[in-house]
């Protein structure tokens, strides 16, 4: 168990030796994870790697079988109510009430988080503005496009001004314009100091949005760090390109005199290459 201290100064996430069993199956198997406040963490991994279980443990929905977990300095099991008031979760499903208007959806979830009166009204206005849905606020959600629903799904988790937000594949099934809008929303929130945990299979999204990346496989973190650190860590798997140039001495001297130089450059692997190098190429169908 981690020592208890002031929750305000504690890291956003501190996980040590997390194990979560489902019967005999070890969904998470000795995971260590750390995230400072204000950072954004991209959680990557093939299907069945333990991402969803890890998120469920972090956001109070699932108890760990072993290990210690602190989120915003709080124990997610013993201090669940307090923690829930300080985190936001953007689920992969469109967790909205289709027959209700955007307004009504937001007001309901705001009230469930204890907001009321003018404060609730201001937060709803802010959320609709952020999602670009102000003009359609009185339309039933069932009439929205997939991208509009995704944006509303996201801002619903932000109404109560959480300190830490978990986003589970928030851009699934949306067009490039809406995806870009979501990116801009997330970048703006992060720039304002929001701590983020972002899971996705779209590696480009993580490259764009996350300060740190953790790659999970078979319930463990097989790599953690910044994008640069991960790429350097897998430099041995880089595709190295060499130009074989045979020049006689005279030609070389003339070219150098003209300002043309020769060098061999190592090309670091991209995130996808790192990911495949760490998790393998075998298909991972979820159990």
């Amino acid at each position: 168990m981690l020592p208890l201290g002031s929750t305000r100064g504690a890291p956003a996430i501190e996980v040590r030796g997390l194990v979560r069993l489902f019967g005999e199956r070890r969904a998470v198997d000795g995971l260590d994870l750390e995230l400072e406040r204000g950072q954004s963490l991209g959680l990557l991994g093939p299907n069945g790697a333990g991402k969803t279980t890890t998120i469920r443990v972090l956001c109070t929905l699932c108890a760990p079988s072993a290990g210690s977990v602190r989120v915003l300095g709080l124990d997610p099991q013993r201090e669940a109510a307090e923690l829930r008031a300080r985190i936001g979760v953007v689920p992969q499903e469109l967790a909205l009430y289709d027959p209700l208007h955007a307004d009504e959806n937001l007001e309901f979830h705001g009230r469930m988080h204890g907001l009321s009166g003018a404060h609730l009204e201001r937060r709803v206005d802010w959320a609709l503005e952020l999602a670009g849905l102000r003009e359609r606020r009185r339309d039933p959600v069932s009439t929205y496009s997939g991208g509009m629903k995704r944006r509303l799904n996201l801002v619903t988790a932000l109404l109560h001004e959480p300190e830490l937000v978990f986003m589970d594949e928030p851009t699934v099934g949306v067009d490039p314009q809406s995806r870009n809008h979501v990116f801009e929303m997330v970048e703006r929130l992060h720039a304002d100091g929001l701590t983020l945990v972002y899971t996705t299979h779209q590696l480009g999204e993580v490259e764009r949005l996350c300060d740190r990346i953790a790659i999970l496989d078979t319930g463990r973190a097989v790599a953690q760090g910044t994008l640069e650190e991960l790429r350097r860590g897998q430099a041995h798997s880089a595709v190295q390109r060499y130009a074989r140039v045979e020049l006689d001495e005279g030609t070389r001297t003339r070219l150098e005199a003209a300002g043309i130089t020769f060098r061999v450059e190592e090309e670091l692997p991209d995130l996808e290459a790192v990911f495949l190098a760490l998790t393998g190429r075998a298909l991972r169908d979820e159990e």
Binding site: L61, A63, Q77, R84, P91, A95, M112, H113, G114
Partner: protein, 431 residues
């Protein structure tokens, strides 16, 4: 090409159908189940145990003749005779459809000019039972082996029909006068029926036969507006109300599963205190919906069919709240036990239809065998129907429905506890 395509579509649909347990249940098992229940209610299993009319007999005479009559009634296969006292009150309270009272001195008076009249107290709401009883009374009386009694009955019957022995020996004139008497009797009834405001009735076999054999008939149940029509309407309105309430409230309880499937339930759980608020919130929604459903149906029944719902609203409101609580608990319990909304729809349809058939929502339980009535009271429908009939037909107040209210509240508590336990285990547990 078209034929082979159609054949492939048909094969595929059969494959889908056979893998859909809900469809299998509703299409194949449910009809068999309901047919079994109806057959058992109407005729018993294997040709035995058919429904018999419960007849109370109060023998104040205790003469050899009266005891012979009671034995004759007991021997009748259509009747279930119970010797009892205070039978008038018991009929008025709906404990049985009819009671025969043999007055003191009846046996000695048979054949005399001052023959005592047998009294038949009836619940006019039990329409089917009165027909069966009428059919059973005549052979029971004639078959009691007493020549004096039989002669007296025939004499009385002929007198009822206008026949007089003084006109004998002309057989034709006997026939004619009898025919005329019957016609006159029918015409009189037709003329009465034609009067403005007169109740419109068909020939009432159930009343005709007892009067023919010299009984005094008195309808003692049903309050001021006691007609068979109002009894049937009271039963129909309350029966449909209870059944549709169950359907409505199971569907409302099923919104938990819908929210689970859509992901909104998880979002609600993540609100501070959300986990504790969801089930009570669903209970409140389901119960208020049930109250609205019942209120609309009873007001409609009162305005359109003159069901006496406004006569004494307090017991009706108290009973309805208990019925709603029980139905809400059951709806939520079924929802919590089903894995998916689709499974809930199939399972609850089966449960509700069977409960409605067993519990008297479709036909009065009083028309069914005793074992069926006992079985029916394992359903909340039977207790709800007993309560509603007590209020709407027998005119009882709060004091007359306390048992039904208590049982319904017990059902509400039990089913709600099951729902809460399943809810915690399934949706709130972090294990």
């Amino acid at each position: 090409m078209i034929l082979s395509g159609a054949w492939e579509v048909c094969r595929k649909d059969w494959r889908l159908f056979l893998r859909d347990r809900t469809a299998l249940l509703l299409s194949l098992a449910l009809p068999i189940f309901l047919a079994t229940i109806f057959a058992a209610a109407m005729g018993g299993f294997g040709g035995g145990g058919a429904a018999r009319v419960h007849l109370l007999v109060e023998d104040l005479d205790q003469s050899a003749r009266s005891q012979s009559l009671v034995r004759g009634l007991e021997a009748n296969a259509s009747l279930r005779v119970e010797r009892a006292l205070d039978t008038r009150r018991r009929i008025a309270d709906g404990k049985a459809p009819a009671a025969l009272v043999i007055p003191a001195g009846w046996g000695a008076s048979v054949g005399s000019a001052q023959q005592q009249q047998l009294a038949l107290y009836r619940d006019p709401g039990a329409t089917i039972e009165q027909q069966i009883l009428a059919g059973a009374l005549l052979p029971a009386l004639l078959g009691s082996g007493d020549e004096e009694l039989t002669r007296g009955i025939v004499l009385h019957g002929m007198g009822e029909l206008g026949f007089s022995f003084e006109q004998f020996p002309g057989m034709r004139s006997i026939f004619d006068s009898t025919w005329e008497a019957i016609s006159k009797w029918a015409d009189e009834h037709a003329a009465q029926d034609a009067l403005p405001g007169a109740p419109q009735e068909d020939f009432d076999f159930a009343s005709f036969v007892p009067r023919l054999v010299g009984m005094r008939v008195e309808d003692v149940a049903g309050g001021e507006d006691a007609t068979q029509k109002s009894a049937m309407q009271s039963h129909a309105i309350s029966g449909i109300a209870v059944m549709m309430l169950l359907f409505g409230l199971v569907a409302a309880g099923g919104t938990i599963l819908e929210e689970h499937e859509q992901g909104t339930l998880q979002r609600l759980r993540l609100a501070p205190g959300g986990g504790s608020a969801i089930l009570p919130g669903k209970f409140l929604f389901t119960a208020t919906l049930g109250c609205a459903q019942l209120a609309i149906l009873f007001v409609f029944g009162g305005l359109v069919f003159s069901v006496p719902v406004f006569r004494d609203p307090l017991p009706l409101v108290v009973l309805s709240l208990a019925v709603v609580a029980a139905a809400t608990g059951l709806g939520l319990a079924l929802a919590m036990l089903a894995q998916t909304r689709k499974q809930l729809e199939g399972f609850s349809t089966l449960v509700i239809l069977v409960m409605s058939a067993l519990g008297g929502s479709w036909f009065p339980l009083i028309a069914t065998p005793a074992w069926y009535q006992k079985l029916g009271h394992f359903t909340l429908n039977a207790w709800a129907m007993d309560g509603y009939q007590a209020i709407l037909w027998y005119g009882k107040g709060l004091g007359g429905i306390w048992l039904e209210v208590l049982v319904l509240l017990a059902i509400a508590a039990g089913t709600s506890a099951v729902a809460a336990r399943a809810w915690k285990r399934r949706f709130l547990s972090t294990d």
